[in-house]
Amino acid sequence: MRLVPLLLQLERQAGPLRPQVLAALAAHGRPLRWAITAVQPPGRLQIEAVVLA
């Protein structure tokens, strides 16, 4: 088991945000802690996270 820090950029799609973030994080591991830490218009989300890999 390793804790892996992540910095992701995600283009926002229509619909709720949380499932979009979780889907993006799932590609890297099991999310342990995450947050959207910046939004660049029109819809690019910066996500910082730690995942279990």
């Binding site: 088991m1 820090p5 945000l17 949380r18 342990l32 989300l45 279990l52």
Partner: protein
């Protein structure tokens, strides 16, 4: 009216970014709502704490899962708190923590024990993210989980974990934090530790860092003063966990569930966390409080509908209005006349 209060850890919030300095706001919101669910960053003032039966102490990742309807919360009269100590803590500092636990047993009547030491130092490292937010890493997560599982097997129903954090008494970041202008550099790693334990064991968990005492700083900000009163930050964790609700995977109708939550209160510039987004998805009112921090993740940026509040006092008024079934819009002027919708 069950209400969630979130002040994210390690983002430098003006209120809640220091040593439990959102606690007065939490007490006010608990009085206004009658039932407040919040997390250790709000409640932990190191040697200072407040116990209120209306406030439910729920570790951050468990609070996120509660908001996502993955678990419910079951209030209890007491928890049996297992104490998990990092093998990296020196003998004298370990003794200080054991004495705090003994003090909480003798003076407050808390049920504490068993005690376990990890089979290897946890190797905590501090880091900042791209946004300047506090994060952190744990070199030996398996050692943490092994000790946690031993405590669970020995009957602990909640876990207080103390990890040795790196001392850096001369750092500019620490000086800024103590003087009220910086980010709590420890907070991110603390969150990772308690999230991991709680997620894997399904128990209420919270963390206190073990650090060497700091020299006196005559310019100390009052918001950071709670951490300068003793040798450890453990007392608040033990008190918080002593009546933390059980985490229930299949809640019954008698348990607290997100379906009964009437509002969530969060900093207006930090709305991009799991709990706020989960509540927003469910149509739970989001009260966005002006509480400046490092981030600028606002309702406008995320296209969320929120109730803005200029202070926690105003947020308390909004909660009271919601609790009493008063439309908050009726409290503002001008009040636009109703219009008949076009067919």
């Amino acid at each position: 009216m069950p209400t969630l209060l979130v002040v994210p850890t390690g983002i430098g919030c003006t209120i809640g970014g220091y040593a439990g300095d959102a606690l007065p706001a939490a007490r006010l919101l608990a009085a206004a709502s009658g039932c407040l669910i919040t997390h250790p960053n709000v409640m932990n003032g190191a040697a200072l704490y407040w116990s209120d039966p209306r406030i439910h102490y729920v570790e951050g990742s468990s609070l996120d899962r509660f908001a996502a309807a993955e678990i419910g919360l079951r209030p209890v009269r007491r928890q049996r708190i297992g104490l998990l100590l990092d093998a990296g803590i020196e003998a004298e500092l370990r003794a200080r923590h054991l004495q705090v636990a003994d003090g909480c047993r003798a003076t407050l009547g808390l049920d504490i024990g068993p005690v376990e030491v990890t089979d290897a130092p946890l190797d905590v490292r501090l880091s900042l993210g791209a946004s300047g937010v506090s994060w952190g890493e744990l070199g030996r997560p398996e050692a943490l989980l092994r000790a946690g599982r031993r405590l669970q097997a020995a009957g602990a129903t909640a876990i207080a974990v103390v990890a040795r954090f790196p001392d850096d008494p001369d750092s500019e970041a620490l000086a800024a934090y103590r003087q009220g202008s910086g980010v709590d550099a420890l907070a991110g790693a603390e969150a990772v530790i308690s999230h991991l334990l709680s997620l894997e064991l399904g128990l209420p968990c919270a963390h206190a860092p073990a650090l060497s005492p700091l020299p006196l700083d005559p310019r100390l900000d009052p918001r950071a003063a709670g951490e300068e009163l003793g040798y450890t930050f453990l007392a608040c964790v033990l008190v918080g966990l002593s009546r933390a609700p059980d985490l229930i995977a299949g809640p019954s109708a008698a348990d607290l569930s997100v379906g009964s939550v009437g509002a969530i209160v969060a900093p207006a510039a930090a709305l991009g966390g799991a709990a706020v987004l989960a509540c927003a998805e469910r149509g739970i009112p989001v009260i966005a409080v002006d509480n400046p921090c490092l981030l600028a993740v606002s309702a406008a940026a995320l296209e969320l509908e929120v109730m803005p509040a200029s202070s926690y006092s105003e947020a308390a008024g909004l909660l009271l209005a919601l609790r009493e079934g008063i439309n908050p819009a009726a409290l503002r002027r001008p009040l636009a006349a109703l219009q008949v919708q076009a067919p």
